[in-house]
């Protein structure tokens, strides 16, 4: 970047032919290498011509200008152009189409930017409205799905409650497996709790693959539990450890014992429920007796 204030006097002297040959050589070498200095010289030449037209040159400068600068027809034409420009610009004699209010280009750019910003805002607003409607619809669908899931949960609970019918006091037999069902479940109360101590009978058919005993237990402080299945003679036929309890409605807990049906031959059985507090030996929490028959029997 050239120092304009420093170069200006030399540039005017160069243009008027007032520099020494050495100065001329130096300036010319510079502007052949430096485009910015060259443009500065061209601008200085234009300014010199305009100052001459306006009569702003000193006497010496004016003499040099007329003696040297106007020495070629091309330069004379340039001075005449400047004279036309000066008379037009300062006298306000420009045609209507050129006599425009001078707005900086940056103001027009600002207007264009503002218009673009407004358009972008409108587009953004429209997008937000569409997205909002889409989200609202999705929310409604999700809420309806949740309601449906709750209804299905309630239905399943009702089914579970239906399946958990007491079988001890009236000597009712365990639930017969539904046609096509492979699992038979029944709730057993401890023998000591049963009012009439009538035998619970489990009828097995070839379709049943498992029997789930839901052993009622008044105390759920011994989790995990252990179940031992014995014949009435005392022979152990099956055992399962690490059983957990689950709530049975509002009336205590049950421990679910899943027994393979092929373990249960025809006969009388006793299921013992054991539980152990932390650091203690297992203790017997309840005894549950039942009879197993097979549907082919009378």
């Amino acid at each position: 970047m050239t120092d304009e204030a420093q170069h200006r006097p030399n540039l005017s002297r160069y243009l008027l032919g007032q520099v020494s040959p050495q100065e001329r050589e130096q300036i010319e070498g510079l502007y052949f290498r430096d485009d910015e200095l060259f443009e500065e010289l061209v601008s200085a030449e234009n300014d010199l011509i305009d100052r001459y037209i306006r009569g702003d040159l000193g006497e010496t400068e004016k003499e040099h200008f007329e003696a040297h600068f106007l020495s070629t027809p091309e330069r004379v034409q340039r001075v005449e152009f400047a004279r036309s420009l000066a008379s037009a610009a300062f006298a306000g004699n420009m045609p209507a189409s050129t006599r425009t209010n001078l707005r900086p280009a940056i103001s027009r750019l600002f207007v264009r930017l503002a218009a673009a910003a407004l358009l972008a805002s409108l587009i953004g607003l429209a997008w937000m409205v569409v997205a909002n409607r889409r989200l609202h619809h999705q929310l409604e669908e999700a809420q309806q799905g949740q309601i449906k899931a709750q209804e299905e949960t309630e239905e399943l609970r009702r089914k579970i409650t239906d399946l958990q019918q007491p079988a001890g006091a009236s000597g009712q037999t365990g639930n017969l497996p539904a046609p096509g069902s492979a699992i038979l479940s029944l709730v057993l109360a401890p023998d000591l709790v049963r009012s009439n101590a009538q035998q619970v009978t489990v009828q097995l058919s070839p379709m049943i693959s498992r029997v789930v005993l839901l052993l009622r237990c008044s105390n759920d402080n011994f989790s995990p539990y252990e179940a031992v299945l014995e014949t009435v003679e005392g022979s152990q036929v099956w055992q399962k450890k690490n059983l957990i309890s689950m709530p049975e409605g509002n009336e205590g807990t049950v421990v679910s014992v899943d027994i393979p049906a092929n373990v249960l031959k025809r006969g009388d059985y006793v299921a013992r429920l054991l539980g152990a507090a932390i650091g203690q030996k297992p203790t017997e929490l309840g005894v549950y007796s039942f009879r197993v028959t097979h549907v082919t029997e009378k």
Binding site: M1, E4, Y14, L15, G17, E28, G29, Y31, F32, R33, D35, E36, F38, E39, E40, L41, V42, S43, E45, N46, D47, D50, R51, R54, D56, H68, S71, T72, P73, E74, R75, Q77, R78, E80, F81, R83, S84, L85, S87, A88, A89, F90, N93, M94, P95, S97, T98, T100, L102, R103, P104, A105, I106, L109
Partner: protein, 209 residues
């Protein structure tokens, strides 16, 4: 002046050295063309600022001699090399000027004869100025509105105020140098336009260009 746009060179014999000059300026043809125009502009101004007639012809002569040197001399800096040749061309041109009698060299008797038609000269000058003014209006209408407003804004102040030009450049988002380049080229373009228009009107005063 050579037409860089046309694919067909004006003279097949000239194309090879000119192409060699362009390649020397830059491998990219478009950039080479820009550098050629920039250098040509500098050479024209060099001759003008050294008070030489027909500066454009002298610039073309300089380029012609540069082309002749390509391949024979190691040219690393085309601009500096061209400047060196231009100085020689300037010397030759000055010798030609010295052999031309300036009007200021006329005797008083010869001067008075040349100046005898003072009234006619004044009327002629007045007509020429009016013609130039009309041409300036036409030429200003030809350039884009933004450029026209920029040009008038730059010149719409008495005295070349550096502070005003810096402010104008800042408002337009330009550096002072970029503003200067733009205005210089617009002025050059308008000067050529007005010159051609005025010359055409001298031949046919009714012709509007």
């Amino acid at each position: 002046m050579r037409n860089l746009i046309s694919p067909f060179p004006p003279d097949g014999n000239e194309s090879a050295p000119f192409e060699a000059l362009l390649r020397l300026l830059d491998q990219d043809r478009e950039l080479a063309g820009q550098k050629y125009e920039s250098l040509r502009r500098k050479l024209i101004k060099f001759f003008e600022w050294n008070f030489c007639f027909l500066a454009e012809d002298l610039a073309d002569e300089t380029f012609k001699r540069v082309e002749q040197k390509i391949g024979r001399e190691d040219i690393r800096d085309v601009a500096a090399f061209a400047w060196g040749i231009a100085k020689n061309v300037r010397q030759e041109a000055r010798k030609t000027i010295g052999r031309t009698i300036q009007i200021s060299g006329l005797t008083e008797k010869e001067k008075s004869r040349a100046d005898s038609d003072g009234v006619e000269k004044t009327v002629g000058e007045k007509l020429q100025r009016e013609r130039r003014f009309e041409c300036l209006q036409l030429c200003l209408e030809r350039i884009p509105v933004n450029d026209r407003e920029l040009f008038l804004a730059y010149h719409n102040v008495k005295g070349e105020s550096l502070a005003y030009r810096k402010e104008l450049a800042k408002r337009l988002g330009l550096t002072l140098g970029a503003l200067r380049v733009k205005v210089n080229r617009l002025r050059n373009q308008l000067e050529r336009c007005v010159g051609q228009c005025a010359a055409a009107r001298r031949v046919n005063p009714r012709k509007i260009t």
